[in-house]
């Protein structure tokens, strides 16, 4: 493609003279502002609802976070053993909550027996791991005593004055801890035991009263 320098200069002058007229510029500016205001308008959403939407999103995120933290902590504490950081959460928060949720006193006692078995399992796990430390024994003993004391009050005994299931568990427990932390309770004692007999008598008299009615 060959052109003369004059042709180039003429074409350059023609093009450089070209521009938007005053009215074209004004029309264009109005059109630009109009287009932008249309974009700004967008869908009609009341400021209140947008506030709630923000609030809902935010609160949903917070709620999810709380749920995650709580469920994570609960899971971790449920898996904890005596001496662990979260063990007190398990003993003082998780288990009491489940206990409260039990429908009647019988279910509550059954759950306490489950807890007694759990304490034994925990100690067995500790034995397998590194052995039982004194701090672990203290924590475990406190937790066990709490349930056994309640179980004593509502225990149902055999004709011989013995609650076989709990007795076996307590014996098992005592075999795992040192003598200082053994559970001393009347439940596992034989019919000669005074407390056991008293409870048995109370239960028997209660039954007689019911029959008379």
């Amino acid at each position: 493609m060959k052109i003369s320098k004059e042709q180039f200069n003429t074409a350059q002058k023609t093009l450089s003279k070209k521009g938007l007229s005053y009215s074209q510029k004004n029309t264009m500016l109005s059109s630009i502002y109009a287009q932008n205001s249309e974009i700004e308008k967008g869908p009609v959403v009341s400021p209140l609802s947008s506030y709630f939407m923000f609030f809902q999103t935010k609160s949903f995120a917070v709620l999810t976070m709380i749920l995650l933290v709580v469920s994570g902590t609960s899971y971790a504490s449920a898996q904890s053993l005596p001496g662990d950081l979260l063990y007190s959460v398990k003993i003082n928060a998780l288990e009491p909550i489940v206990l409260v949720l039990q429908k009647d006193s019988k279910s509550k006692d059954e759950y306490r027996i489950i807890l007694l078995q759990k304490r034994i399992d925990e100690l067995e796990k500790l034995v397998k791991r590194n052995g039982i430390k004194k701090e672990s024994e203290i924590e475990s003993s406190k937790a066990t005593q709490k349930n056994v004391k309640v179980l004593e009050k509502s225990a149902v005994f055999t004709e011989e004055g013995q609650n076989i299931k709990i007795s076996n568990q307590i014996e098992k427990y005592n075999s795992l801890v040192s003598s200082d932390f053994e559970i001393k309770t009347s439940i596992h004692k034989n019919s000669d035991d005074t407390v056991g007999r008293e409870i048995k008598q109370t239960n028997e008299s209660g039954m007689k009263e019911k029959k008379a009615h």
Binding site: T14, L29, Y33
Partner: protein, 170 residues
């Protein structure tokens, strides 16, 4: 300083940029598209985008307005050619598009296409600088600013491009 005052300031700044650059951008679009209506639409779209950026509080993005405006216009021209490929001339004429609108525009477009043919025959890196220097008669400093290159490099490109351009003359 309240919001209303800030908006007013932004609007003034935008209008100053519009008055300063709209003609240059119009010529660039006319030169690239060889169509006055398309050039007008592309200029409008360029400044719509600039106004959107500035009015939405992102005016910090427009630190180098000349460069920014040119970049938008160039992108729009590229988009225009991409779209054009997919639409035939017959389809456009059916929609009322007139490739040659008037006698004066026909004359103008002949001159434009003459310039375009010569400049587009140069190597790619020289086309923009030659257009800006010899069609828009811009200073080297401004060319460098728009293209985001050093003044030195812009000068070198202009010098080499000029030499190549001379070779195109009869």
């Amino acid at each position: 300083m309240n919001d209303l005052h800030i908006q007013k300031e932004i609007k003034e700044k935008f209008e100053a940029l519009f008055q300063q650059h709209s003609d240059v951008i119009y010529r660039l679009c006319l030169y690239r598209t060889s169509n006055e209506d398309t050039a007008y639409d592309l200029v409008q779209e360029t400044f719509v985008r600039l106004w959107k950026t500035m009015s939405s509080g992102k005016d910090k993005e427009v630190e180098k307005p000349k460069q920014y405006i040119y970049q938008i216009a160039r992108n729009l021209i590229i988009d225009y050619y991409k779209r054009k490929k997919t639409v035939s001339l017959d389809q456009l004429q059916d929609k009322g598009f007139d490739p040659v609108a008037s006698e004066s525009s026909a004359e103008l477009l002949t001159e434009v296409s003459l310039l375009k043919d010569v400049i587009e025959s140069l190597e790619e890196e020289f086309r923009d600088v030659i257009y800006m220097r010899y069609i828009e008669e811009m200073k080297v400093k401004h060319i460098a600013e728009i293209l985001g290159i050093s003044e030195n490099l812009a000068s070198v490109r202009i010098s080499r491009g000029k030499k190549m351009l001379r070779e195109k003359f009869e």
